[in-house]
Symmetry: C2
Subunit: 111 residues, 2 copies
């Protein structure tokens, strides 16, 4: 068995790009919650255990900036704000489900 590699490996640019978003704490969880349907800020904060208001706010702005999350404002009254996934964000949902299945099988012992 040839266990050697003689090339210089390099992290794939597309994987690097994926983790520029998903390698940021909470983003994967926020995307997964929105994958189940639109949610308000308060619903998201409750759904993502441990996140603070300030960090959730920053993450939602970042996810909107990269085009994965859309902020809807209903002028009301009463004014109501909800977040939902863009088309690009929706494309991620089945992969998050697969990551969950992988983790359920392979990461049982994480503390």
């Amino acid at each position: 068995m040839d266990n050697e590699r003689h090339d210089l490996p390099r992290c794939d640019a597309a994987v690097t790009r994926a983790f520029s978003v998903l390698g940021k704490r909470w983003n994967g969880m926020i995307m997964a919650v929105l994958g189940d349907g639109p949610a308000s800020f308060v619903m998201l904060r409750r759904a993502v255990d441990g996140i603070s208001d300030a960090v959730l706010s920053e993450r939602l702005a970042g996810l909107a900036e990269v085009g994965l999350v859309i902020r809807d404002v209903d002028a009301g009254p009463p004014v109501s704000v909800r977040y939902h996934l863009s088309e690009a964000g929706e494309q991620l949902s089945p992969l998050l489900d697969q990551l969950g299945r992988w983790a359920a099988t392979n990461l049982v012992e994480v503390r």
Copy 2:
């Protein structure tokens, strides 16, 4: 169209578990590089652009602790240390490829 949700959403426990590892900066990239084959510390540091020695060292220890990465020591001489994916880690590789393809299509404009 019923755009309302009346339940209280909750981030899926398995997705939360997945991102306890992958939501930590660099981990996804390290796993992707090792998905292409075993690598030494120096190879990994070069492959993952921007990571420091201290952080790479901490991340490799964490990935080994959750059973995704295995550290091989060849007593030599010369002593040589290499890292490779465990079976559980290997199971992640096709999902990282899919995330890369998703990002290539959907995250083109990330700054």
